[in-house]
Every structure is written in C-alpha cells, then in structure tokens.
Symmetry: C2
Subunit: 573 residues, 2 copies
C-alpha cells in the first residue's frame, strides 16, 4: 500500500487492534486492513509541518488499553430483563466494551479521546433486535418508560449521529436485521431490512441470478466511501450520497418506500414511483437521523449491473476555474450524466498526483511540457455507466466539453489508479494519528454561483492556521450545482485545538453560502449551525414533526438536527 | 378542427360564451377556442350510445344565463374594507360573477351544475394581491379573524381543489403575482412568482436572449395538458406532471426552493440541488394544495431549449401487453429516457387512430396487412429531447426495443399528428355536453407489477355500465412504473348518475392497487379515499403538519386532502 520507499519509512502499524481495546473501537474498517501514506505524501507532510524523520520514529497513544467505563449503566435491572424478554438474553449486553462500541462513531474527536482513554457517554444497554416486531415492542416499552433509544446501523457516523447523549439503549440493527426481503425484477426494486450493509446488498444484487434466482444481475448504485461499513438504513437516515451519485442519484432519490416504527405508531409508505396524493410523507422521513423513529425496512430502486459498459476518463485542466466550468457544462449539457465525476483543486491535485503515483511519470512530464503547472493544474476523473450506447455517448461528450475548456485528456488511467483505493482512504487516519497528525473532512453543497466563494473562503479559514494541508474536491454533480469536500491535515494533538479549527471551518462554510452538509448529515456536531442555516420557519416544522412522532423525546435525544439543542454546546448535554 | 364531414354534422357551437354567463365560467380555455369531434368520433359515439343524428340537432342547457348567486357574501363590510386597504379597492370584488368565477374549477360536475344554473358554494370576497407582502398581511389578518383563505392560480383544478367550501376569500395569484423574478443562467434556474401561467413562463424562457437578456434560450420542461391555463404555483401545489415528464421530471422534481406565507410564519427554503441537512421541508410543502399556506415564489430548474434536436417516433404493437413490456424495457434500459412517451390501450388506439386521422390511410392498411388488428393493436408515440447525441441515441434504442417486442415503426407521424392537439382535447368537453354526453378522466399511478390488474379492474368497473367508451393510456414513465390515465365518455345527463359512476371508478382504482392520483392531486373529490390509501400513520403526519402551519384552520378548509373531512360527503360541508 505504501509503495517502495527510498528513504526512511515510519513504522506504520501493521497489527490489528487488541480485542477489547479502545483502538478496536476507533480504528476504521477491517481490523487487519491498512492503507499507509506513501513516501511522497510523507515527505509533503514533513515539509509542510516542519517535521523530521525523528518525529516519526515512535508511535504513541495507540489506544491499546482495554475499555473500562467509569460509569455503570443507569438502566434498572427490570428494564434490562424486559428487553431480554423481547430479544432473548443473548441479544442484550451491559458489558463496558459493548456499551462503548455501539455508542461510538468515526469522528476524529472520538478517536483522539479514546486514544487518551477518555470514552464519551456510553449506552446503558445494547440491544440486538431480530425483527421489526421486536423493534415495535422495544419502542413501545421505551416510550412508556421514557428510555432513550439510539439506532445503530453501520456505526460510520462522522458527526456523533447516534451518540447516546442521554444514555439508554443502543439498538443495533445490523446484527440480525440485515437481510434481503424481496427482489422485484419487474419493478426493479429490492426490499431490505434496514441493517443490511453495503457489501451484503451489492453482493447479492451482483450475484442475483445465483443468490436470488433472478434473471439478471443488478446494482444498488450507492457507493459512499463508507460503503463497506454502513447500512442501507443509515444511508437514508443521514441522506448519504455515493461516489456514483451523479448518475444513480443520492440515497434520497433511491428510496421508494419505507417502514418506520415510531412512538406515534408504525408508518409504511407505498411503492409508486410518483403520485399526487398530498405532501410526501415518505420523503419527510428521510434524513430524520433516528429522531422520529426506527427505520426497519426499505424498498430501493435497483439498476442493471453492466460493469462491462463502464467507461473511464481523466483530464488535467490549467486551472480550477476551467475544471469547474467544464463540469458545469457536462452537468447541464443533457447528453447523459457521468457516474463518477470528480475534480480536485490545485492542492488536492498536487497531492493526488503523488498519491495515485502519477507524479514523476511520463504523464506528469507531458503535463508539464504542455504547461499544466503544479499548484495551478487541476485533475478530473470519472466514469460513465448504463447502456453501452449511453456510456459511449457520455464519454464522447465529456471529452468534447473538456477539450473546449482547455482540459488535456489523460486516458482512463487516473480513474483506474483511484478506483482500488476508493474506500480505503479512511485507513490513513490511524497511521497519521499514531504520530500526532490528524486528517479529517468537512463537506458542503454549493450552487454553481456560490462555488468559488465557498471554496475561497473556506480555504482561507483553514489556512489562517499555519501548517495545514487543505485539499478540496467536488464529486457529486447536479445541473444546478455540486458539493465541495474539504480534507484537511494538520499536526495537532489537543482535542481543544482540533475542535476550534473544525468550528472555524464549519462557520466559514455556512457564512460563505454552503450548506451545513451535503451528504454526511447533521448529527450533533453540526447541529449548532442548523437553525441559522435553515431558518426558524423550517426548524419549527422539524420540531413539530418531532413532537408528533416522538412526544416523549425518546428517539435519539440530546442534540441531533438541533431539535432539542439548548445553547451551542451539545458536548455538555 | 372537425375536418371535412361527409354526412350530417351536429351544430357544434362556434360562439364564445356571453360575458357574465355560467358558460363563460365552465368553458375550458380560450373563450373563442374550440376543438370539435371529428366525424369518425361522432359516428363511434352514435354507435356506442345508440344515438341518431336527431339526438344532435339541438344543443341544450348551454349555460348562457347570467350568473346570479342566491347567497349574499357573509363577510362583514369591515373585513372587505380591511382587504381593500391592503390590496387597493380595485383589487377586491364582491360581485356575484367574480365570487363564482374564482370559486369554480374544471370538474365535469361543476360544468353540469352550472349548465343547470346551480352554482356551488362561492367565495365571499375575491382578492387580487399585488405582491408577497400583501399576501403576508392578508394571511395575518385572516388568521386573526378566522377567515378562510382559498388560493386560486390558474383555476384548472379537476377535483374541487380550491372550492371555497367555507366561504371566505378567494386569493387570486395569477392577476398580479405572475412575473419572472430572476433567471440564473449559471445555476440554470428561474425564480418566479407563483401565479405565473405556463405560456408566460415558457415564452419568456424560449425568448430569454431578447426578453431576459440571457445568453441562451431555455425551457421549463413542464407541459401538462392544462399548460395554457395553469400556474407554476398550481403545478407544485397539486404535484402535477407534464407531457414530457419522463425526461424532465414531475413538478415535484423541478422545484428547487420555495417561499410560503403561512399562518405560522414565512418559510423560504434554500436553493441547493441536494443537501443532508435533515428532513427536507422544501419537499413536504409540495403537494399541500393550499392547506398549509400560500406559495408565493418558487425557483425552478430550467433546461436548454433545443427544439431542433427533438426526435419523434411512433409504433404499433400487436397487443397492450407488448406495448407495456416495450415501455418498461425502455424505462429500465438506461440509454436515456424519452421526453414524451405514450401508449394507448386497444380502445384508445381504436379511437385515437380515428382522431389523429390515421384510420383509413395507407398506414392503417399497412398495419392491417401486417396483422395488427383493430381492438387488439396498441399505439405508442413519443419524442426524445436533450443534446442531439442523446436524442439520437434514445430514438435508436427505442426502435431496437420496440422491434424486439413486436412493434412496427410508424415513423414520427403519429406524434406529429398528436402534437398540435396536445393541449386542446379539453375543448371537446363543451361540444359533447351541449348534447348530453360527458367526457371525463381519472388517473392513477401504478408499479409495473400492478399495471395490468389496475387496467383490467378499472375497465371492468367502467364497463359495468353499458354504453360507456373507456380509453386508457400510460404517459408518464419511470423505471419502477408509470401512470394509467382513463378517459371515459358516456351519455349521461344526471349529476347523480355521473357522480355514482365516478365513485365506482375511483374505488376500483384504489381497490386494484393504483394510487388515488398520479398528477391531478387530491382536492376534495378524491379526499374520501385518501386515508384508506395512505394509512392512518401517514395521515396523522399530514394532520400534525396542518396543525403546525395552520392552527386556526383557515387555509383551504373544508375537505381537501382529507385533512378536515368528517364523514365521506365533502359536498355537504
């Protein structure tokens, strides 16, 4: 992964976390999975942060200690027994490790604190329901006894989305409620239990002829970076977007119908692709982040799986402005949308070319010869999917548009180099933090006419702190705009400093005209900005819905979406 | 319009309604606009209904009487004066004619009753606000004094959507609030006042270079049959669909942001094409049919206007099943979606070929020779739009798919013959009613796996009554399903009989698995079916939203969406 090194290579950790340790909770993904920085990124960091090889000789605060919680569960034994009667003894746990594991997402802040052996608020009880009837019984019981319920899918939240801020129950859907209920080939839909994980869903669809006795293979079309460690229910609850969303649509567009268990009763919506039967309750449930009820089942669109038709393309542009203009023209050109489309700004291009191994190759030489200068040039990569005639048409038109905007065609190579690592970048985080460097991301939606302002002002906010790498890309395109995804890397070891920087960046995003989030959701972390962003009128509607679904306030209480946020500091709830 | 007749031609009316008459209210569209049945349709009706030319010698109950209302306005003079102070004396009216005109939609039932000189409930006062600030003042005043407010856009409702069942104010947005606020070419959006009518919007967009100083011409992509007589606000409030929705999307998909004035305050949503900032309040406002508040301004997507790229196609299929399978394959084929796509069942094909003038031509002969038999064969027509490379690709693939399903290519001729009349079919209604024949429509959404059952059972319900023509088409396509649009023609003169038939058809639609509506909305007419259709869980959400936005129940009270419907008979409210 880290390639061949010529000089000193830090002792990147290659051992899985110890069972029961803090590290086993905060480490991303496969316990035995790693993606180390390559030498070029390592050198870049040393240079930017003013570090030497000596700073990378000793890993520290790796979080190998066994989890121990100071606080014992506050839920009475009678409640624990009641839950055990519903789901079976083997499906409840009050063990410290489980209580913390199913309370912890994937924020940098959580990882930093767990490295210091400082767990945040844990669940009192972990419950693994075996079906929607059990969820119904649990929600009913908890509503009666005012016990908070936090729904846990894949656990990949990067904004404290399911953190049990008020204790209570962590309801884990991915343990048992992870099956395919029905593939409907005529309608091209699949009905699944909400806890199904990306690879299980996509695997079954790709192998539908053998696994589901189908006539054809299918794809779900949804590939977020967290794909391997996120659940279908989580995609919808947080309004996620996949890397091919430009063609397939966001999670919001992929969901035809849903079934929720709420304290106010059950809701099952109908499967029509469109209807004029009043405001779409099916749609208002999406993005509710566990605050209205528990999403137990959903019906998703599926698409024909035609990987042989996929076309790849890559371009280098002289400037960020040219890359943006080209993608706007592609998005508005009405010749068909690409599946993946991704443009990197100057700084990300600079590092990306190093990471993908293009830097220093003949392509790099060619680019330089043609006048595409480092820290000015911007990379674009992408694919087209669908019927072969469409993918060909999209690629041909993308090439035409990019040429008109000064883009040089780089073949499909950059995309080919990007693809194998598309889900693996998060693994870098642990390596860097082992040496006191943090890497994190924030992201936002923009319309075309706000894009440059948001990009400029957010970068300025990041760069106010010296020695921070800030890479930006746009990767989800619509005729009316796109997203901006900021990756920042800094040498920073105090949680306080990190949170202050993060707050500055979020504030800059909102002040410059971006949305609070494009596809990470709001959770608790972004909640303090949400009311100002949406306005009181919209927030009042969300609060009215909350009161309707959950009058006792037991569903994911304590901050998310700003629904019950008093003051700005959700961390103190 | 009626072509050359060989035999007796009824004396179709060719004079505009008298000013101030009932007919001037119920007649569709341009007062001087007509579309008469042609001789083939006339003969078909005579045959099916067992009529002779004698039945068509004398028009009757034409509704030429002057409007007179029995009931005087019940709104006190102080309220009228208060409204006049807000909008100006010239923008309020308590005249009988105005009170009825702005209370009446385009249902067959209303037309039948007005022909008998029986107006339904009228507004007490008609108010024409000049801007959103005035709407704000009106809503505030009405909330304080509990005066019902009914929003009137284009007036084309076919389900009593804005009928002032509780009296009060008819708020007419199309008089003054009908302008373009801003065209944003970078984002490809247009912001309009809600009362703008289809032709004004599309005309300005098509001529954007001269009218809006734009670099390019645009299209709104939304062409419902009511296009000429409906407003942008109405499209969204009722969740309408245009004839090219298969490519451009339904009104629901076209709206990026909106501004509402509600009794609970104003809401202005933001313009991002996507965001993960919690449940989408912008979307839950759509389809609220005036019950939450007044939609005053909206931002719509626009598309590049490229009429030269339009491709037309037409096919004849041996059976309805083959036509359905072909459109499903087109909708799921991922080579790009057609803009218009429309398949007619056996009975509609039979009449359609007569209406379009294909019956008896060389094409008809060719079809018969090739074995496409009348009352078995089914017509498909359509277009593709977008970039030239896409329209070519779509048409080529449509031809490939249709050939595989036994379809014979008919060139673009059927579409060319259909296009000039695409907005004009509603004019037929007045001609037929002048001779005691009614023509009406009901429509529904279906998934592919329910389509045939709904079609079969609804036709059976219609045909339970002898002597009824029932034509069906599907015209809005999605990968997961389509709509079914039923047109029925019957010799029927009593309102009671008509309503009984209509109720039977709606019940058959719902019982067989269709939705209450695909794009007409719910209004009052379909409200009795909505709770059973959506389920109590969804209805409780809509009622909670209603309570939030409009606690005093002043916005469009008396039945719509089933929000305040007691019992089944909204007509008695």
């Amino acid at each position: 992964m880290s390639g061949k090194w010529k000089g000193f290579m830090p002792d990147w950790r290659e051992t899985a976390p110890l069972a029961g340790s803090y590290r086993s909770i905060f480490k991303w993904g496969d316990p035995a999975g790693f993606k180390h920085p390559n030498e070029k990124l390592y050198r870049e960091m040393k240079e930017v942060f003013g570090l030497s090889d000596d700073d990378f000789r000793q890993r520290r605060r790796e979080g190998d200690e066994a989890v121990r919680l100071a606080r014992t569960p506050r839920l009475g034994a009678s409640h624990v027994q009641a839950m055990a009667r519903i789901v079976g003894e083997e499906n409840v746990s009050t063990k410290d490790y489980d209580r913390l594991r199913y309370a912890t997402g994937k924020t940098v802040e959580e990882a930093m604190l767990l490295r210091e052996g400082k767990p945040g608020r844990a669940a009192d009880l972990v419950v693994h329901p075996r079906g929607k009837e059990e969820v119904r019984a649990i929600v009913k019981y908890c509503a009666r006894h005012r016990i908070p319920v936090y729904t846990y899918g894949g656990g990949s939240s990067v904004n404290f989305g399911f953190r049990p801020a008020k204790g209570g129950i962590s309801l884990v859907l991915s343990t048992h409620m992870n099956g395919i209920v029905k593939l409907n080939e005529e309608n091209q839909t699949v009905t699944v239990q909400a806890g199904i994980m990306g690879p299980a869903l996509e695997g079954a669809l790709n192998d539908a002829p053998s696994k589901l006795r189908a006539a054809r293979p299918y794809t779900c079309g949804h590939f977020p970076q967290s794909f391997e460690y996120s659940s279908a229910g989580g995609w919808v609850a947080t309004l996620g977007s996949g890397q091919s969303s430009t063609y397939y649509g966001d999670a919001y567009n992929l969901v035809l119908s849903q079934e929720y268990v709420t304290p106010a009763g059950d809701i099952r919506t109908r499967e029509y692709p469109a209807a004029a039967t009043g405001p779409k309750v099916n749609d208002i449930l999406k993005g509710s982040e566990g605050t209205f009820g528990v999403l137990v089942e959903l019906t998703l669109k599926v698409f024909r799986f035609m990987p042989r038709n996929r076309k790849r393309f890559g371009f280098i542009f002289p400037t960020w402005e040219a890359a943006v203009s080209a993608t706007r023209e592609v998005s508005q050109g009405e010749f068909g949308m690409p599946a993946v489309m991704r443009i990197s700004d100057q700084e990300e291009t600079n590092i990306g070319l190093k990471l993908y191994g293009i830097d220093g190759t003949f392509l790099d030489t060619l680019m330089r010869l043609r006048g595409f200068k480092p820290m000015e040039r911007c990379l674009m990569l992408g694919t087209s999917e669908g019927d072969a005639s469409l993918t060909k048409n999209v690629k041909r038109n993308v090439k035409r548009v990019c040429a008109r905007h000064g883009g040089m065609y780089l073949t499909g190579l950059p995309t080919k180099l990007w693809e194998p690592g598309r889900y693996r970048d998060p693994y870098l985080r642990e390596d860097l933090q082992d040496f006191g460097i943090l890497i994190d991301t924030l992201e936002t939606s923009v319309t075309w006419d706000t894009l440059h302002k948001v990009h400029r002002e957010v970068r300025a906010a990041v760069k106010k702190r010296p020695k921070v790498i800030c890479m930006t890309h746009a990767s989800h395109f619509y005729p009316q705009g796109t997203n901006l995804y900021f990756i920042f890397i800094a040498k920073m070891e105090r949680v306080k400093d990190y949170v202050a920087m993060q707050d500055d960046i979020i504030s800059a995003i909102c002040a410059s005209g971006g949305s609070v989030s494009h596809h990470h959701g709001v959770g608790r972390m972004l909640a303090p900005w949400i009311e100002e962003h949406l306005g009181k009128g919209q927030m009042d509607v969300l609060r009215a819905l909350k009161r309707h679904f959950d009058p006792a306030g037991i569903m994911n209480p304590g901050g998310p979406l700003g629904l019950d946020l008093k003051g700005k500091d959700w961390r103190k709830i």
